[in-house]
């Protein structure tokens, strides 16, 4: 998520391919290091939706379709 732009595709790849996986891990760390939060949208069998906040690449479910990065929350006024 970017101000003035909305959704921006950062990287995509097949997690089963080691080359892609390394690239995705690199990008994931780069985004977190730049101060963003990461979340994975999830859906259960009943159609309920929620998200899972992830702090390391291992936290991401292997079958996750995407990870969304967004600015870190801060107390507002």
């Amino acid at each position: 998520m970017k101000p003035g732009y909305g959704e921006v595709l950062i990287a995509e790849g097949d997690i089963e391919l080691s080359e892609d996986e390394e690239r995705l891990i690199r990008e994931f760390r780069r985004q977190l290091d730049s101060g963003l939060w990461a979340a994975v949208p999830l859906a259960d069998a009943q159609g309920r939706r929620e998200s899972r906040m992830v702090r390391s690449f291992e936290d991401i479910p292997r079958d996750a379709e995407r990870v969304i990065f967004f600015p870190r929350a801060a107390g507002g006024r």
Partner: protein
């Protein structure tokens, strides 16, 4: 006499140069900085509109149909609270079911589901310090999605980070109660429509 005055002036200038030269240098730098052209990103309504459209699509793909329609029709999303003792402990909510109303770029409001008693306003922002397009502010739908993800993903952490205020600090409590009433009406209408769709019409039944 003239020579003495000139010598005195030279000595005075030499002594004052330590004070004068840095000021002259500073003034020169400021003048140059003022004249330097700094590229500025101006507010572009078209760009913001496109950003909002992209953000709406992303939001729609993440939340369920009911939440999306709620946002589309009412302008906010309700998220049920999951903490057993409520956001501020049992003293405030008594362990009763509670929920949050998420508005774009407004505080998150917690309320008791049965009585609609407002519990508090949680002020939270998602500022992008890089200001990629001249602004640190996410599109409205991205702001809602960020709150939705943070609340459903880690409610306790988000609430702990937020600045909590009593109801009425930023949002008019009457307006929030009206929104909750609109939500109740909207849900009733939605259930009625769903029931009508699932039961066959009288014409179908008689055929």
């Amino acid at each position: 006499m003239l020579l003495a005055l000139a010598a005195t002036a030279i000595v005075a200038i030499a002594l004052l140069s330590d004070l004068i030269v840095p000021r002259l240098d500073e003034g020169w730098r400021r003048l140059r900085a003022r004249r330097r052209r700094v590229p500025q990103l101006e507010y572009d309504p078209g760009r913001e509109l496109r950003a909002e459209q992209r953000a709406r699509e992303l939001l729609r793909s993440c939340v369920n149909d009911k939440e999306w329609e709620m946002y589309r029709d009412l302008g906010f999303i309700r998220v049920w609270g999951k903490q057993a003792d409520g956001p501020e402990g049992p003293r405030v909510s008594g362990g009763a079911p509670y929920a949050y109303v998420i508005y774009p770029h407004r505080p998150i409001v917690a309320y008791l589901a049965q009585t609609h008693r407002l519990l508090g306003e949680y002020c939270i922002e998602f500022p992008d310090e890089t200001r990629p397009y001249g602004s640190g502010r996410l599109p409205d739908s991205d702001d809602v999605l960020a709150k939705w993800m943070a609340l459903t993903g880690d409610e306790r952490r988000l609430i702990a980070m937020a600045n909590m205020h009593l109801p009425g600090r930023q949002l008019d409590p009457d307006q929030v109660r009206r929104d909750l009433w609109r939500l109740a009406q909207w849900e009733r209408r939605r259930m009625r429509d769903a029931a009508q769709r699932s039961t066959p019409s009288s014409a179908d039944a008689s055929a």
